[in-house]
Amino acid sequence: MRNVKYRIVQIPLFDFKGMEKYLEDMASKGWRLEKTGRYVWKYRWKEPAKLHYAVTYSPDASDFNPGPTAGQQSLEELCAAAGWQKAGEWSKMQIFVSEEENPVPLETDEALRLEVIDKAMGRSFIPGAVLMIVMGMVYCVPNIIGLIWNPVRFFENGMNLVSLVLWSLILALYCYNLWIYRRWYRKSLQSAAHGGPCAEVGPYETVNTAAIALLLMIIAWLFLIILRLHDSSYAILIAAHISLYLLLLFLIEQARKFLKRMGASWGTNIGALILVSIIGSAILVAITFGLIQDMNSNRAEEIQDIPLTLEELNGVPYEDVRRDIFSRGIGSFLITYNLYWDAGVRITPEGERVQESLSYEIKDVKTEWLYGKALEQFLEPKSTWKPIGAASWSADQAYCRYRNGKPSNTYLLCWPGRLVSLTLDSTPAAEQMAAIGRKLAPGI
């Protein structure tokens, strides 16, 4: 049997009753708290025992202090005199343990306890939660506005929807935890005013566990979208980005511990970590951007297969062929958008080298409502587009763009669920229109 186990902390920082009960339950099963971490705590096996755990708070305590403050040392001395030994600390929470059968309670004034808890939360839990809520709103509000004003552009990039759902979940979770705290505090204040104990916190574990499970499902959903719509290189890129981000968090935490061991002051520790975070984030962005650039340049050399090539359109061979595909984001289950570009050199019968190119956008839209919106966007401004015969293209509808009253070589072709906009070097012949219709219609 292993004599060490690790557990993720799921108890809110202010829930001292929940924490005491949890640690006492663990001790009764033989697991004693050995070390507290930021998210994961370590327990060591010893014989089951009926221990008493008690929690108090030190508003001056900080993970960035080089060691216990004078206040913390004083608290530990007073607790030791009363038979309580320090078992660990977690942010502002100080955990003590007693093996006595009926130890003196650590706290004997509930109103004062509540006052200290609120002070401690005001320096830890609340600013953190408020910051996450503000970040959530900064992300969600513009995206919601974007969703309302330009749903086509919003849904073209599956990351928009995934990120909006993700940040909405984070926003809701932090609002919920903040609300739980304020509700508990108000109830405790009322109770303490009448000489009663602090209130029970109420259910939070189920909600928090469900939220974490949902978060993981969303990340899995993101990977599924990527794998369905793109080759595995995108999934590898996202996985690499997440891994680098986790590595950065790990390095920042190790830097904090190192500075603490070296005796760096609170200010030096915080300042250094902010610097490491900024530099690390910049490196992470640079690496990710570099990987994307590298991926795209490799793709430009490797791309051979696009729906319609210059050779297929014109029926002649080309030299120095260059092709590219541009996708707006990773696409989503509602819309995918790809821009194709093909360029090459045609050798004329006279031996002349003529540079030619072909570009076209394909937008596949799954719902009628979005299809209508996408068509509206394509036909902006309306005055420049005129309907033309669609039969030659084997399409349902076709439009030509006019410039200065004259038809250009830019066309919009419409099929159920698909919109194609393309620009040619010259007015297409009937065979070319037929080839385009054959190659670009949906279901090919």
Binding site: A54, Q73, S74, V104, P105, D109, R113
Partner: protein, 106 residues
């Protein structure tokens, strides 16, 4: 209605101030209060720490000695005034009680 800070003292605050009329180490305060009140009043170490911290910030007590983790304290003139005010308040309560119950008995 919430009490204004130190407008009136809790029993624990009262006895802590009373003990600190003479210099005393923090760790000995709880034991002295137990003796003084024959075990009627208990002050937990967490509460003791928070009260001492509040008193220090309000300049009702002063730290006189630091020996490792042990700290000693002594009441200040401001602290004596607050203790005296609380004593007078308790006497007023007692007098009002005697006045009311005395009238009922007669």
């Amino acid at each position: 209605m919430a009490r204004e800070k130190f407008q009136s003292l809790t029993e624990q605050m009262f006895y802590i101030l009373l003990c600190l009329r003479h210099e005393l180490c923090g760790a000995d305060i709880a034991a002295q209060i137990g003796v003084m009140t024959q075990g009627r009043v208990t002050v937990g170490p967490g509460t003791l720490y928070n009260v001492l911290d509040s008193f220090l910030q309000a300049e009702m007590i002063a730290e006189t000695k630091v020996e490792g983790r042990k700290r000693s304290y002594l009441i200040t003139p401001k602290g004596r005034e607050m203790l005296e005010a609380e004593y007078r308040r308790l006497l007023t309560l007692a007098a009002d009680y005697r006045a009311c119950t005395g009238e009922e008995e007669t």
